[in-house]
């Protein structure tokens, strides 16, 4: 944790703290917020960081607890530590460079031989089809966990899956030269997903449309929907093009410790929390 902070301070980032309890959680199709009285606990600090970028901050980071309801497994815990950082006037490739530098700063023995693999190539090779332009959610998710993720272990070093189908863009920007692709990457180390990054979507109209679509899909799944956060949508109009990364600190620690379950780094996990 000290090394993580030192890295960002040395790179000239400002550490920020943003609200943990919020009236309106950021809506994503498969992430459920934990209620806390008449508020919700944050699932990510994203919406506040983007408002800070809109207000003129250029390099910010935060380390803090986030909460996701119902996620429990060797690699999941409903309360976990997220590291999130943003760079203004940058894109997802710029923050990939940050990520490489960060990982080698906090984990010097980790391989520096990073492989970047397009999602389309990874799926063609390991699952036999190309999800770009032919995306169906179930097939994509199931092949990702059954075929693609297990295959990533064969690479000696970290693997970056890059350029996701636009349907799986979440809050990322569409690629300029290919409307079917979103500027998003995910970092895997030893087959474990460690970080997710975007060239951030800064178009308020497009963001509103995605939230509305997401609300419809959540309704269809019988999940609760959250109202649209107008302050967030408004701020996107003033936000510069930016790159942002969310990194699971517990998982990174687990890998550094050579473990294969979060049990190794969350000592109070089995105590009924």
């Amino acid at each position: 944790m000290r090394r993580i902070r030192a890295f960002f301070y040395e790179c000239g980032f400002t550490e920020v703290e943003t609200p943990i309890r919020l009236k309106v959680p950021c809506m994503e199709l498969h992430i459920d917020a934990e209620p806390s009285g008449d508020h919700f606990l944050r699932t990510s600090p994203e919406i506040f960081h983007k408002q800070l970028l809109a207000a003129g901050h250029e390099k910010i980071f935060e380390v803090g607890k986030c909460f996701r309801r119902g996620e429990f497994g060797p690699l999941h815990h409903p309360e976990y530590t997220m590291l999130e950082w943003y760079r203004a006037n940058a894109d997802y490739m710029d923050v990939l460079a940050d990520t490489k530098a960060l990982v080698s700063a906090v984990w010097p023995v980790c391989s520096t031989d990073w492989k970047t693999l397009a999602v389309s190539d990874a799926f063609l090779e390991f699952a036999g089809w190309n999800p770009i332009g032919h995306y169906t959610e179930d097939r994509f998710d199931i092949d990702l966990v059954e075929k693609v993720e297990p295959a990533l272990i064969q690479f000696a070093g970290p693997v970056v899956l890059i350029d996701y189908p636009i349907e799986a863009a979440a809050l990322s920007r569409r690629k300029l030269d290919n409307p079917f692709v979103a500027e998003r990457w995910e970092l895997y180390i030893n087959g474990v997903e460690i970080a997710n990054a975007y060239s951030e979507l800064t178009d308020p109209a497009e963001q509103r449309r995605r939230f509305e679509e997401c609300a419809e899909q959540r309704k269809a799944l019988g999940k609760e929907t959250y109202p649209i956060d107008e302050a967030f949508i408004q701020s996107l109009g003033k936000m510069p093009p930016s790159g942002g990364v969310a990194l699971g600190v517990d998982r990174l620690l687990m890998l550094i410790a050579g473990a294969d379950s979060l049990d190794a780094v969350l000592p109070f996990r089995g105590t009924g929390l």
Partner: protein
């Protein structure tokens, strides 16, 4: 019905009408994707193992397994016939289901049979059964060592290793779980 989030290791479920057990279970949620429940499953009838991934919206059938007490009656060709201790209804179990346990089934033996619907899946014998030795070389007189073994035959022809002091006509106790000699009950 179970929902996918109820699944766990050891849970018995029904797939395409067959009883199955989850032998391995993993919660998975690819970045921004849906929760997936990856299971290794064993079919309790065929013994086949396979992988199956459930999405959180999927439902899984419960599997009702019932175990009832029976008494062994007789052998009919390759079937073993048992009668229900309460209803006296007969149950026929094929030789292939009973497997090696057939060597230790004796008259009037009390057994437990596990059913899925009306289909017998498994049989459990008492842990120990007493049987008489039909044939064995005589041991040296006075030799009571228990660590020296010799072959012996049961009345049904099954060969078992017994200590050297056991003689023809002796009754011994056999551990049905391992198929091995446990101790001597009485001298013949």
């Amino acid at each position: 019905m179970y929902s996918a989030s109820d699944l766990k290791k050891g849970l018995k479920i029904e797939i395409d009408g067959d009883p199955c057990v989850i032998t391995n279970f993993e919660f998975s949620k690819p970045g921004k994707g849906q929760a997936l429940y990856r299971c290794k499953i064993k079919n309790l009838i065929t013994g086949n193992q396979f992988d199956k991934t459930y999405r959180s919206v999927e439902k899984v059938n419960r599997c009702s397994l019932i175990s009832r007490d029976y008494t062994f009656s007789y052998i009919d060709g390759s079937n073993y016939v048992f009668s229900d201790n309460e209803t006296y209804e007969e149950a026929l179990l094929g030789e292939e289901l009973i497997g090696d346990l057939k060597n230790f089934i004796v008259d009037d033996m009390q057994v437990e049979i596990l059913f899925h619907d009306d289909r017998a899946l498994d049989i459990t014998l008492p842990n120990f059964v007493e049987m008489q030795i039909a044939e064995t070389e005589p041991g040296a007189r006075g030799d009571t060592a228990t660590n020296v073994m010799k072959p012996a035959k049961l009345p049904n022809g099954y060969e078992i290793n017994v200590p050297i002091f056991i003689n023809e006509g002796d009754t011994i106790r056999i551990d049905t779980r391992t198929g091995t000699y446990a101790d001597r009950v009485s001298k013949g």
